[in-house]
Amino acid sequence: MSSSSTRPAPAGTDADRARGPGVTARHERGTTAGLLVKIALMALVDAFGVYVVLAAWAEESFGILWAMVALLVAANYVYFSRRTLPMKYVLPGLAFLLVYQIYVVAYTGFVAFTNYGDGHNSTKEHAIDALLIQNERRVEGTAGVPLAVVADDGGTLGFAVVVDDAVRVGTAERPLEEVPDAVVDGRVIADVPGWTVLSRQEVLARQQEVTRLRVPVSDDAEAGSIRTQDARTGYVYRSALVYDADADTMTDQVTGTVYRPNDRGQFEAEDGTTLGVGWRVPVGAENFVTAFGDARYAQPFLRILAWTFAFALLSVVTTFLLGLFLAMVFNDPRVRGRRVYRTLLILPYAIPGFLAALLWSGLLNRRFGFVNEVLLGGAEIGWLTDPWLAKLSVLGVNLWLGFPYMFLITTGALQAIPSDLLEAAKVDGAGRFRTWRSVVMPLLLVATAPLLISSFAFNFNNFTLIYMLTGGGPRFADASVPLGHTDILISMVYSVSGVDGSAPKNYGLASALSIVIFLIVATVSAIAFRQTRKLEEMS
């Protein structure tokens, strides 16, 4: 990249070298224009980056802060230095790859070895705050303070209270803060600047929200909060638990029990009782042990594992055979209208997969579906509700979805086989069948094997089909976890993770299962690719 710009633009060489992707530079335009565009783009990137850094500082998210600083430094160095030419083209994609792929993969690996999930949702500090808040009780013997329910422009509820003749306002998120110039009429707060004082009716309409609202007295969770039952008088609530930071213990002031942190990320008393909110701690390989050994998970897990293999393998085999059969049928130049056939046959492939799965779930509906009601004359066959029929249906629908793809690739592979090979086989006296077995099939397999392997990997994780067609059901009758006969590993991960709220969250176990899936797919692919290479060498 020696800079030999023919135009004598003053900043020419610099701009030429530094112009990165995302800059539409046209040959005719002067190079200064490119430089300006680059500076403008970098200014935008830097502005955004600084905003993120400041916001992260305010939220005390130091991980995000340092990551952003690193990205910013890298971006500015890459686009303003002369020695980083290749990186100018790689960096944008690399940045996204680092954050949204490499980091999440690494983070999956980390979470797999923790007990992250319900009851262990966050750091120890957050758990302590949450415990203090959850165990708040009204402080005995304190008088109530005059209170009014207020709302801001966005409708967020807050309380205004009179403490020491001053009006203080706060919401669930913002601790009490003094508001000057508020109007207090006896014990009634009449007007608070910047807030709307809710009328009786409005309070009644949002009664549940009001009685549940907790306005912290200050940033310190131990200072307690203001709550109300009647929307007129507020009481100070303080936690029955006291956290002693030096000794690292929680003490229940009512019973006097002392709780100490255990290695499971919970506060534990001497008699073994634990407090409800814990924090996440590394638990070693426990999640993996749970998957393979715990009575609740192991049995469903092993059944699901077996079905996942069967599903992925059978899907590839059935779609490949049907696709190959059709490809053979139409691999004869004397058949007229082959283009029309091909266009119609790839219809299922051109329809988004999720639509097809949803459509088939209607077609196969037990009572009203087209298949039962029309094709089978009103039979009520549980295509999606009987354990074995559901498996068959999943495979059948996947056959419908997948055969056009195999049809296309096998057609391509068949046409790529040189005809002199076939003639040579004929000359050597091979019959039709022998030619197929010894010449066509090996060549075909070599050509399509990588695609078959990726098809296997794809079906191994074909979440959309399973989730939309059967939702993993019918449920295992004997399992306590929400898993079913057609669940594959990835849909099991989804259920176990609890992100849709149907089950208790268990991010740790879900991540561990993700890792297991990855290891299986990677191993199977590696073995299969090695076998293919052998096949390639043979032919």
Partner: protein
């Protein structure tokens, strides 16, 4: 598949009776055993492939909108289901999906092509290692890490709400995380087929690397850009699990999440709506697919899988 058989049977005798004597110089009997049966298989296969599509079109055009009511094919033809869509969030979902899928496709093409250009044209330390690590990284499907993605977005959302859970921008960013990987390889191979002499000539004429990239290379590799953009569009269009985890409020949903919601909640009552929505949803993808059939078939054999 008993009902559509009369339809299926119709074209067969016709073609068997008329065509062979005229076009092929062989007896009807021989024609039947060598070619005619292929048409039989073809027609059966086409019926198999197309009948759910015919059914969904009929259900979309039915008047009732229930699952049972949709079983008599084309018993009545009305647009009531399509009109009913206007009273729902369907068009919002459609807009969301198109915005997300197009943004992802454009971003994927730009970033993938830029990376492929660097790997194909420049020699730098770490080039081999970079290519190899890309190959390894892309083996881990992003969807497997949806828990970690969710947790990451929870953290990011505290700092920048637009990058957090329930944001379309965040979802696009997540999808762009997979922009390198397979696509770079697909493009890298294609970029290598463009002769380097072209670059050198341009360089001698005084073109800069950026000018070579934007005005020469990108034009020459436009077929692969189309394929990558299209595959990325289609797979984003139908992506479900990450969209479902990330987008939480109904107005932000994509079509996959939204239509699933209709069918899973009230399959019987919403069927007509779903069918109409499905027809509209399938049309853009179907049209693209048919239009670019040749490209896609080529792209498929280059190693891409439908997502």
């Amino acid at each position: 598949m008993a009902a559509p058989t009369p339809l299926a049977a119709a074209p067969r005798p016709a073609s068997a009776a008329e065509r062979p004597p005229a076009r092929n110089r062989m007896g009807a009997r021989r024609w039947l055993t060598e070619i005619g049966w292929r048409h039989v298989v073809g027609v059966v296969a086409v019926v198999y492939a197309a009948f759910p599509v015919v059914y969904v079109v009929s259900a979309a055009l039915s008047d009732g909108g229930t699952l049972t009511g949709s079983n008599r094919l084309f018993a009545e033809v009305s647009l009531s289901n399509f009109r009913a869509l206007n009273g729902t969030v369907f068009w919002t979902w459609m807009a969301n999906t198109l915005v997300i899928a197009i943004a992802t496709a454009v971003g994927t093409v730009l970033m993938g092509a830029a990376a492929a250009y660097a790997f194909s044209r420049f020699r730098f330390s770490g080039r081999r290692a970079g290519l190899t690590s890309l190959l390894v990284i892309q083996m881990f499907p992003q969807m497997l890490a949806f828990v970690a993605i969710f947790l990451l977005l929870l953290g990011l959302g505290n700092v920048v709400p637009a990058l957090g859970v329930n944001s379309k921008i965040a979802l696009i960013c997540v999808y762009l995380g997979g922009a390198l990987g397979v696509n770079t390889f697909l493009m890298y191979g294609f970029f290598n087929t463009v002769p380097r002499e072209l670059d050198e000539a341009a360089k001698i004429d005084g073109a800069t690397h950026a000018q070579i990239y934007w005005t020469i290379i990108l034009r020459l590799v436009s077929p692969i850009l189309a394929v990558v953009g299209l595959l990325s569009f289609i797979s984003t269009f139908g992506e479900f699990i990450i969209a479902r985890v990330v987008l939480q409020s109904e107005r932000n949903w994509t079509l996959a999440v939204g239509l699933y919601g209709w069918v899973s909640r009230l399959l019987e009552a919403n069927w007509g709506l779903f069918a109409a929505g499905a027809v509209i949803t399938a049309l853009p993808v179907l049209a693209l697919f048919m239009y670019l059939q040749k490209y896609i078939v080529g792209g498929l054999t280059a190693g891409a899988v439908k997502g």
